[in-house]
Point group: C2
Chain length 195, copies 2
DNA sequence: CCTACCGATCGGTAGG
DNA sequence: CCTACCGATCGGTAGG
């Protein structure tokens, strides 16, 4: 056997530590220790610490983008597509927590060009929500006075905070979480609006 | 004149840089440059970098706590108190953006004891929201099946993301923001629920 | 993947 | 608040 770790192992471990302690809070020696080797040995697999961050963040971005594309292809009403977007987001958070947290919190550690690419990816993702919200207004499902841009921000604010509190295996499973999210977003909290 | 900067100046500048680049992304020399002096000169005002973080974070926590206490004292219905909590939060974000961002994002850089204190402060603040939501259920303003704990998380998720996108001086002023937040939280986005 | 390093930068101190 | 440092740690490289 030649080497016991693949480049992929290194990127995954980096995601774990960047998510936990931040990019600047993680040293290459920390990362080596996580994998059971020396910091300097990592350079057999990668060429710089910043490259690692770029790769982790890009994976997060790609997962969200893919989930959004699938959700937008959901047939039915705008409500159905919004639910698909929310369920897709929950799925990405559960399956790729570390990349998601790094994508959301560590973009500022990237240099200008890479940071702009990440912000552009976030904006594209947000557009998927805006589009579905606007469709819902057109078809009459959502309030006529709804501001798709502002509302997309509100919905995404809730979704982007999931990694801060939601723990799989707790009392609320993924389906229950999606239901609770949709009820809150669709109907709010006031009583006496169903009868 | 003896010194041109007060301890307070140092703490404020630290808040600015910690909010912008993170605790680990800010060096004492960066902080000195921000104030026009050398990194080593800062130690005439403070005793360690970590102390600075503790002080910035504590200020953020105190602002939120104070705002919550005032809001809870608002007479009227639970809806009125919820609006007061939301308006108070918006006020704190607008007036103390740097401390807020440091409080929300840099707590993990604190050592165990200090970090626990911050998490306890966040929990107390969240409790204020839970209490008002539970009151609203009891008085019949909010849905009977509402989960105050989960709903508090949703509302605070939206509020805690404000610093990521809201810019004073833009098209939406603070009052308009509070109105939009309350409409979203109270009524959701579905059409045909008012008539 | 390790050994043996490199120059740069880190938080912080002594003394004025 | 500066000068002149300190030991520790940083990201990274050469050579095997």
């Amino acid at each position: 056997m030649t080497s016991r770790h693949t480049r992929r192992d290194v990127v995954e471990a980096a995601g774990r530590l960047f998510a936990q302690k931040g990019y600047h809070g993680t040293s290459m020696r920390d990362l080596g220790r996580e994998l059971g080797l020396l910091g300097s040995s990592l350079y057999a697999h990668i060429s710089s610490k910043e490259d690692l961050l770029v790769e982790v963040v890009d994976r997060g971005a790609a997962e969200f983008q893919e989930a959004a594309q699938k959700a937008l292809a959901t047939p039915g009403s705008a409500v159905d597509r919004l639910r698909a977007l929310v369920a897709g987001h929950v799925g990405v958070v559960l399956d790729h927590m570390d990349e998601v947290r790094t994508f959301l919190n560590e973009a500022r550690a990237l240099d200008g060009g890479h940071r702009e690419r990440v912000l552009a990816a976030r904006d594209r993702y947000e557009q998927a929500f805006r589009r579905v919200l606007a469709e819902g207004v057109e078809e009459g499902s959502f309030r006529a006075d709804l501001d798709p841009k502002l509302t997309a921000i509100f919905v995404l604010s809730i979704l982007n905070a999931l990694d801060r509190w939601y723990r799989p295996g707790g009392p609320l499973d993924a389906d229950g979480l999606v239901d609770a999210l949709m009820e809150f977003v669709l109907s709010g909290i006031l009583a006496g609006r169903r009868e």
